[in-house]
Symmetry: D2
Subunit: 389 residues, 4 copies
Amino acid sequence: MTIDGTLKARSPRIRLGMVGGGRDAFIGAVHRIAARLDDRYDLVAGCFSASPEKALASAADIGVPRAYASFAEMASREARREDGIEAVAIVTPNHLHAPVAMQFLRRGIHVICDKPLTATLPEAKRLAKAAEASGVIFALTHNYTGYPLIRQARAMVQAGVLGELRLVQVEYAQGWLSTDLETTGHKQADWRTDPARTGAGGSTGDIGTHAFNLAGFVSGLRVAELAADVHSFVPGRRVDDNAHVLLRFEGGAKGMLWCSQVAAGMENGLRLRVFGTRGGLDWAQEDPNVLWHLPLDAPRQRLTRGGIGMGPEAARTIRVPAGHPEGYLEGFANIYTEAAHAILARREGRPVDPEVAFPGLKEGVEGLAFVDACVRSSARNGTWVKLAL
Amino acid sequence: MTIDGTLKARSPRIRLGMVGGGRDAFIGAVHRIAARLDDRYDLVAGCFSASPEKALASAADIGVPRAYASFAEMASREARREDGIEAVAIVTPNHLHAPVAMQFLRRGIHVICDKPLTATLPEAKRLAKAAEASGVIFALTHNYTGYPLIRQARAMVQAGVLGELRLVQVEYAQGWLSTDLETTGHKQADWRTDPARTGAGGSTGDIGTHAFNLAGFVSGLRVAELAADVHSFVPGRRVDDNAHVLLRFEGGAKGMLWCSQVAAGMENGLRLRVFGTRGGLDWAQEDPNVLWHLPLDAPRQRLTRGGIGMGPEAARTIRVPAGHPEGYLEGFANIYTEAAHAILARREGRPVDPEVAFPGLKEGVEGLAFVDACVRSSARNGTWVKLAL
Amino acid sequence: MTIDGTLKARSPRIRLGMVGGGRDAFIGAVHRIAARLDDRYDLVAGCFSASPEKALASAADIGVPRAYASFAEMASREARREDGIEAVAIVTPNHLHAPVAMQFLRRGIHVICDKPLTATLPEAKRLAKAAEASGVIFALTHNYTGYPLIRQARAMVQAGVLGELRLVQVEYAQGWLSTDLETTGHKQADWRTDPARTGAGGSTGDIGTHAFNLAGFVSGLRVAELAADVHSFVPGRRVDDNAHVLLRFEGGAKGMLWCSQVAAGMENGLRLRVFGTRGGLDWAQEDPNVLWHLPLDAPRQRLTRGGIGMGPEAARTIRVPAGHPEGYLEGFANIYTEAAHAILARREGRPVDPEVAFPGLKEGVEGLAFVDACVRSSARNGTWVKLAL
Amino acid sequence: MTIDGTLKARSPRIRLGMVGGGRDAFIGAVHRIAARLDDRYDLVAGCFSASPEKALASAADIGVPRAYASFAEMASREARREDGIEAVAIVTPNHLHAPVAMQFLRRGIHVICDKPLTATLPEAKRLAKAAEASGVIFALTHNYTGYPLIRQARAMVQAGVLGELRLVQVEYAQGWLSTDLETTGHKQADWRTDPARTGAGGSTGDIGTHAFNLAGFVSGLRVAELAADVHSFVPGRRVDDNAHVLLRFEGGAKGMLWCSQVAAGMENGLRLRVFGTRGGLDWAQEDPNVLWHLPLDAPRQRLTRGGIGMGPEAARTIRVPAGHPEGYLEGFANIYTEAAHAILARREGRPVDPEVAFPGLKEGVEGLAFVDACVRSSARNGTWVKLAL
């Protein structure tokens, strides 16, 4: 219930660059705060926009020492500097993840990449292969896995608290695309509904992958096959804005995944429930400091972040005591800090501590395989299809 | 916000009989309280068990004037009495609903029948045809439609508050059958997992029909087709204990239905969410005095039963002011009181008031068609199937 | 977790009369439903209004066999009938409780009286003395003590689950008198703000007594002294509409009581929290099917009415299984049913079962002593005063 | 609903020092994160402990460039450097706030001081006088005023949304001192229950001042007088661990304040409710992304941080969109960032923007006056006393 001095003590900081995330961007600023929160990174270089002018203006806003107008130039020049960046954060639209990442990883620069990994499944597989070959650390910011109580939930599942898992119910419901916002000049809506930039999946790629990833992270189960009814409700929209998906996991568990961007009035309704032979768990992202444990034979328990009953897996990702909420940025920062553990271990030539956990290439490919399977199943009127992993 | 004197004032009471609901039964006692709550019925006759001894002993417990050992005898003798019953409540296991109902309705005795209507779809259609031909009032106790805020939700949908509906998410999650309770002598678990008495559906018939009915009652939409993954998780169980179902409604809305009796730790987690172009609604049976309205362009509103903003459809089903909770029994009683309005209108030779609403034969057939479609779809590995109405 | 057949089985019904509760009344209809719910009473006589015309018209509405235009006449005539009433429910404005009760109890008719016991403390003491002398059963409908989870909370305190009690925080916040509603012809607001009919206390008498009673019922502690800041916020109001009260209990526990009828937007916000050396409890009337247990050394537990962990004290007051809410009327009915146990025991010449519990004369006098102490303390600018018991 | 680029864009950073907050400390790490979150400060110097060895070891942990073993030396040396610190964060036990602050402010170094301002009221007044004379910026980290929805609540009160205020109910309930934790070597419990280091108030000083400050910040009302029942429940404890306080505000509003550290099972239960003639507000620190608005004549509204209906006062303190929670650290950081606005304005010789708001000397003196009044009132058995401002 106190700040873990060991974990949070200042260690050598990692020199970080960023691609994307300039003016008008949303997620870039989040990555910068996340990188800063635990004081593990120095942001020293950036190419913040595809537009050279905007890239340089954004760099001035942000105050980064080395500004670039092209990410390729950034990669090559930083790789040659003795004090060049050790890691790059990629926060561009999805279709640029792969080309940008390739530039850096082939120069041995570690990558922290926003999700989904790429715009398409084949591209994801190619990137994963190249990244694995390069040996760099590759972190994918499925940030919801950074919430301490998600770590707690995962540890409880692993410890067998729920018995054998039977059911996984996950949903991510938003309402912000209930209207044709993309026709109004809204930058976020614009690129996220453009297949050329966002990829084959709309809601499936943008938030469905988060739900899918979270379900797998906590349950430890892999989806064997799925049946999907993917749809676009808003007239004229070019990507899906809702998906209803049935899941069958390896080992026999079953589940449902719902992702929507037309659930009018919903904000970021990501919720995961897992039930096994001995009990269940229930967690909602909008109230992330609470994890409900539903034992089969005892009253429901309300576990709080940092409260009584926290295991070490959660405790190491916590900054302030129970009753003082942590939120989205802290969870996001946990991914950055976990990646920092790995990057520093690499720098120091030692193995990464086994308790360090963050999503990476495998999860990235799985996410695109999920989108791909949704699209394929839906195209065949909901036939069950296997994930093409 | 006050008791509606007009509605609740004493009117001539209806002479009621009951079949089923004796010792060890659960739902019979609920029906008796529901019948009594608004003082609209006198329970004057009963055949409370299939076992003659138990039937008579139960009658003594309950204190009913005329006890019968056989429902057929009860029907014929009551029909001949001048002061014989005007309506019968049927609270037997499912497979007896039809034979019992037939005995009474062909003698012009109104029927209040527990759900599901019958054990099988063909039986449901036959019963519906016979009941319609007889002209009796037939109420099916899909009791959740009696909750005042469900009336309010339905009225808001009808008034267009949500715009055009897009999404219907409904679930009914219980955990009480997480183990093989039926092997322990538990009477409720015993008959509810016996296909001969409960019908083709286990969780689908017992609670899936409630979820299905509630979704239709509030949304006003009819399911055109569904795709189901129906399963029995507990080894040895003879009926399904979990179903994941995708829904497509006439007119283009889509949805999901989940019913489970193996969601360990859940009690009676019936929840309905409906989203349209202009907003959403969210209601949960375990907190039935609250209805969430999620407007597209305004903060979420917490409507309370009897509170500010109630329309007349809800107000007429309310007994006590806002902030004083009503619950399951009151909602159940509302079905009885609605049926009483219809029965008294019939007695008095006048049309039933248009605001009176209770589920009946149509909803009963639809419920069995839902179970039938789940079974058929699941047998074909989740192929989309149309409801066989 | 099932209906208790033994408890709820039909027993001989008690012949009940009612004084007050006619047209325009609120609480009378609640008493009638409460009496009816468990089938323990037959309402056979009534004097439903101080106005003879209204009394008779109300009797016709309600459908009671014997209607009276005067409660004195009712008492004398019923007492002389062989089939006369055995108990009377008194649901008049407060100032009439004592005169009405006196008429019946001196004839040996049991009394079920709405709270507060009387309009003033001296009157309460006189009535209590007379009632005790008469030997009748006297139940006071502090109905919130009828909620099953309140029974559970009390049993947990008695069993020492919380250790030694330190803190009792209770509040009852309403907002319905935020404006000068009494000037608009609103009948409930009219008499409840008229000192001649309601007594010395406004909010203190109407709802403060409920909060005070509930705190004592659950904690088992008696208030030794209190300091109060009693106020009327609405210009022109003749009784208090808000009270802030500090409490000191015998034995050293301390607490706070807040009652208000000007907490704009609140409905019936009665909430009780109790903390001891080993844990706490938290219960709110608007969500009465949940009781929070806060152990000192374990995560918070959510106890549900009828769910795992219920003791016999709660279980015997429950009708339907966990997850199917019971509410205000069921809690109110529990007081009637508890009183019925006592009345039937008296009729049959046997002692009342020890588990039967309902508020009575002692609690009634304490309630008026609470109001009296609030008024006295506030008149002396919040000096601590002892309860004048 | 998006990150405010203007507000959050990088501006010149402020050179910051810190006194206190070394190994074993809690709040120092919080201040460091808060300073870092929005990238407004560089921590360049520190004296992290009263023990010189620990001070230097902590400096190494934290990684600060200039480490000092004495705060006096730090003040004098930093003041002489051209690149010396511009502001100092004071995070020592309470009794050191004043002596430390005096060293820095008399050299023109701005102060960000943890609460309460000092250990005693006279000391607070002296410090305030000196600080005002010095002209430095002085921020007091009553961090709960940094929560965006607290800003929103305050703006709504100021805009008259609630009408004229009548009631202010505030509480801060913790349970962590339910046992004699201070005898077990627990560092936080040790100094916080030692009158020499914490001051005259225990719970009143540590958390009562937060509650008091928050009530004033949101309501805009000043407490005129109070009546308190202050107590220490744990045997042997040298400071209060619970206080029940009645409040009278200038202008006629009334209220209650409860602070406790023996409410077993509570974590950081800070909750504020405000009611006026036209409605109420309800906010709880453990769920800080929600603000309930209770209009007098409309259903309750659930305002969310960053959601529909946010005014500019809240919007400027928000980093991520609605539905992605922010927490304690973000709220704390808002105080730092607000102070940075003021410090940078001072550096640049321009007036501070009027929308900038953070607690300072006035609030600090008021907090000590609150503790002083509680102690005085309680010593006179709860007599109403005026605040000695």
